[in-house]
Symmetry: C2
Subunit: 620 residues, 2 copies
């Protein structure tokens, strides 16, 4: 396209953004208008994308980090012929694929955006796949706002991209000077961004974001830059092209008042069509290794019943074995692989291991990026530190991403290190994520099986592992369906109570059952390794037979095992008597045994609680 | 002290770190030894601190961001005479104040550390207090590791500190080259850090961290630097002074094997005492304005029953009023003050308003920092985006911090913007925080009261507000005790069921009650504005009278209202029949009304669910 046509295309994108928001009665046209010329140049001259085959492995990727500028993205889709005008005008309406912020309900969108500062970290993950795994020359474009450069996650990604020489990654910062409630810190001072990005090792280009020729040159320079990611810093005007809103405060997230006049001012409606270039390697498509056929059965480690092994160690060995069986499995860790045992995988499969250093947001974002390319990522760190990435986990669910997250060092059982290192909120955090699976094994063979099983689940999968050694309870051939549980003790209808536990407390529960039996109180013990989904049938039968359930968890009382078991009885049926033991006080340093005792989740505390529960069992 | 004495003091700190970890059988001596000379110089020559009066407003602050180097901190306390040798050797033992990572159980520790990358953001909060509120020339020192510079939160703080010209803040980076599992990204390449920090506007000094004279000069230069924060980049050796571990991999987080030999190699045990200089303004102490006497009663806004007002708007007005009554109240927002309505406070009290831009980790960290100086912070953003700062919230609880967090735009009721902007995990997230309070008002007067009430609570307080206008239900003089609830409909023992709701669903519940009454089904409606602590008595009475409870929440099914009500029946008593309505599918764009309907939490869905519940009410 000639430059004057590109400029015209930019106006068309603005017009369509204004029209879409006007039809919706809400949305962010002004944030779209600032980046319209950038979008026009990218679409017409640089993006290589087969809109009929969004799954094409050679396609470039475009991540709209400033997700609120969705009208621009949808206007680009329309210009590319992928979306028709009538669909454009369904923007933000019930049932429309054109949501307020883009999600993968649209086939050309890899990941949901809308929580600012996530586009670049996820883009880094996709670029890592392209560079280190796919070896396909697709380019990853991230279009970001200037406000979101204040997010720390952006700088985790900036560091990571430069360190990994991701020259297949281009960040475009739409520096329109205005955030939601007013001016940004740095306004139109492009040098402020340039200095920072340059210091981290990026190639930087400053341009007038409304000069299509300059933007065009910048994209070409970005694509030809080697060994460095490139940032195009584009000075733009929010609301560009409509005098009533251009470069003015107070017009964020609002349709332009007089849309008809605005469209006229922008030159009226047009219907330019762009023939977007297809990917270069259209003939020699590559796919993720395991894309064809069923993955091989992993030769999981086998542990002997009675041995003592930490579940984190079993995780490491199982992940290594899974990596040997399946070339699509990749692992990431946040500089604690020696603790989480991800290092076993790292040593066996260094080419598929991603060290993310102490940057948990980048860790999860990279996993999300990698799974867009068909890989099956396992990202691990301490359970406590996964809280750092909760927003990324939440958005991963919106992105329909399939990722495995593994949190080690769960609960007070870690001992001396104290509360800062103890995962005590992780079950609550992951249970409340849409479509998630939450697994919490108590022994090595169970862990190994669950590590393999979770690979093929949908959505966000969380595995909670423990620091200390624990006895192996299950044989290596035992299976553990997701949504199941195991009854480890039970005497039929003679049982006076049911203890529901998982992980470290399961072992305490078994000891408690012995103590209680000595006192003539037979009890049932359920290993609730699948915290979500929860085994409603087994819990229901236990409730019927024993009348009361005691949950015991190395977690705060809210959101974990106790809540999960209670939820199993939230369908209107009569509920059993329930009680819960959990970590109610703020722990300090102590040995693991002292911690369990102090928190009241050790065998003696459990036995005492059951006794109390059984004694108070007076049918009302 | 002479330099040779400083060097000797450094050796003593190493010896004590080695001894403490040896006595504990765990801990991080090598990470302490790298920073021992820095600690010695800081303690003997630069820190102004009255150890007998840790509450002295003029005291400098020292935040040990690399909290695992606690043995160094405790060795410094010993050198200052604040801790005796026998207590030093209780390190990491049950009941000891000397925890694995420092917490405010020690009177000289302002905030807990141990989750890396939090010290600087919190230090920025303290420095902001010193600069903008206290006007006291205390200096804030943050001692950080090099690994943690990979955390995005550090760069949020770096940006914030420079932008605010915090020349009362000095960051010392202990560049010992080795992280937990191996070398850091930048090793001993000080220039890598220097370039980045300089680009953000910091004054930087590179030193040999074992050259006490150079370190001494650097501290002096930092203190005399104006208009800029200073970073001292100190090249050090992990395990310095003991050949068996110095600058070697594989010795992170482990006691030195032969402690006796190590102590000998370090010159043996010593007992140098440092007379730490007191604060400069020891005579003219300043305190937080409201420190004396009871704060004035705020003149809260009064809303008329029947009017429609958004609870976020009521929050803004109430916060403004609270700020007028109390000079200790401060507000912070992450660049969405026009949406959260924190801008009402900003306009009325600009001197006590802190714009944190789009950096939620810094937002919460600044609140934590401000409360260490006695201020009562209210930090607000979208509920969805508070997930970004979950690790900071979790650590705030370990820090015993009193902070108010306000999350707006809760749930699907926001409408068209879609799931990325909807707080649907926030109740779960905050409920599971130790010692937290979770409030969720449904009308303007209730909101105003709760905003005032939460100011004087302990721990992390969370208020959930809504985007849309809702009818005012309560008169302005109604009171809302924390842990209470309101029965808004009820016919005594005639009620066939109880609907428990809060916020937007409370209004739907009332409409449902009308529908049900038309069908001859009298129901009770409880406004559960206090989600944690929850009103066990009222729920128990409702269970007794009506036999079944239906919870309705604009939140995912896990961790929120449903779990909170279930938890109320987790003390072993017979539980009622319970059912829950919640947001079970991933929402998309739609109007607020369509969203409630689609999620099945609108009046019609509630009425239908109650009917089903009542019809299935067969006593077993």
């Amino acid at each position: 396209m000639h430059y004057h046509e590109l400029a015209t295309l930019g106006q068309q994108l603005r017009v369509d953004a204004v029209r879409a928001a006007d039809a919706a009665g809400s949305g962010h046209p002004t944030s779209s208008m600032s980046a319209a010329d950038i979008g026009a140049v990218l679409l017409a001259h640089h993006l290589r994308f087969d809109f009929d085959h969004p799954e094409h492995p050679g396609n470039d990727r475009l991540v709209l980090s400033k997700g609120h500028a969705s009208p621009l993205l949808y206007a680009m889709y329309k210009a590319a012929g992928a979306v028709q005008d009538d669909e454009l005008l369904t923007f933000r309406k019930l049932g429309s694929r054109l949501e307020g912020h883009p999600t993968p309900r649209l086939p050309w969108v890899d990941v949901a955006t809308g929580s600012l500062g996530q586009g670049l970290p996820v883009g880094v993950g996709i670029a890592l796949a392209g560079k280190r795994l796919d070896d396909i020359p697709y380019h990853v474009y991230v279009l970001s706002g200037d406000s979101e450069m204040a997010e720390g996650s952006v700088w985790e990604a900036v560091e990571h991209a430069a360190y990994n020489h991701l020259d297949n990654l281009t960040l475009i910062v739409d520096v329109n000077r205005l955030g939601q409630r007013g001016p940004t810190r740095h306004g139109h001072h492009l040098a402020a961004y340039e200095r920072r990005l340059h210091a981290f090792g990026w190639h930087t280009i400053e341009v007038d974001g409304h000069d299509v020729e300059a933007v065009d040159r910048a994209f070409a320079e970005a694509r030809s830059t080697i060994r460095q990611p490139t940032a195009i810093l584009a000075a733009t005007h929010k609301g560009r092209g409509v005098a009533a809103v251009e470069d003015l405060e107070g017009f964020h997230g609002k349709p332009v008042k007089d849309a008809q006049a605005a469209v006229a001012e922008l030159g009226g409606s047009r219907s330019l069509r762009v023939d977007v270039r297809g990917p270069a390697d259209a003939t020699g498509r590559k796919t993720v290794p395991s894309g064809d056929g069923d993955p091989a059965e992993p030769r999981l480690p086998r542990f002997d019943v009675g041995d003592t092994v930490a579940t984190r160690t079993a995780f490491g060995h199982a992940l290594e074995a899974l990596g040997s069986a399946r070339a699509d499995v990749v692992a990431l860790d946040a500089e604690v692989g020696d603790s989480t045992r991800a290092e076993f995988f790292a040593k066996a499969h260094p080419d598929r291991y991603f060290e993310c250093y102490i940057a948990e947001q980048q860790l999860v974002a990279a996993a999300v990026g990698l799974q867009t390319r068909g890989y099956v990522p396992y990202a691990s760190t301490f359970a406590a530190f996964l809280t750092r990435a909760y927003d990324f986990v939440r958005m991963a669910a919106v992105s329909q991403a399939g990722i495995n997250l593994v949190g080690s060092h769960a609960g007070v059982a870690i001992g001396q290190d104290g509360p800062s290192q103890m995962g005590l909120e992780d079950l609550a955090m992951f249970r409340s994520v849409h479509g998630s699976t939450v697994l919490y094994p108590c022994d090595a063979n169970q862990t190994a099986r669950l590590v393999a099983t979770m690979a093929d689940l949908k959505g966000v999968r969380y595995l909670r592992t423990s620091r200390g050694d624990m006895p192996v309870l299950y044989g290596p051939d035992e299976t553990f369906p997701v949504g199941g549980s195991k009854v480890l003790r039970g005497h039929g209808d003679d049982d006076r109570a049911t203890i529901v536990a998982a992980g470290v407390t399961l072992h305490e529960a078994l000891k408690a059952a012995d103590l209680l039996e000595d006192h003539g109180i037979p009890v049932r013990v359920i290993d609730l390794y699948s915290v979500k989904p929860v085994d409603v049938d087994t819990l229901t039968e236990a409730a019927r037979a024993t009348g009361c359930l005691l949950t015991v968890e190395d977690h705060h009382p809210e959101g974990g095992l106790g809540d999960a078991v209670a939820e199993a009885f939230s369908d209107g049926r009569p509920a059993p008597r329930m009680a819960r033991l959990a970590v109610r006080d703020m722990p300090a340093s102590a040995t693991p045994e002292e911690q369990l005792r102090k928190a009241g989740i050790d065998a003696e505390s459990i036995a005492a609680a059951v006794q109390l529960l059984v004694e108070s069992d007076i049918t009302p």
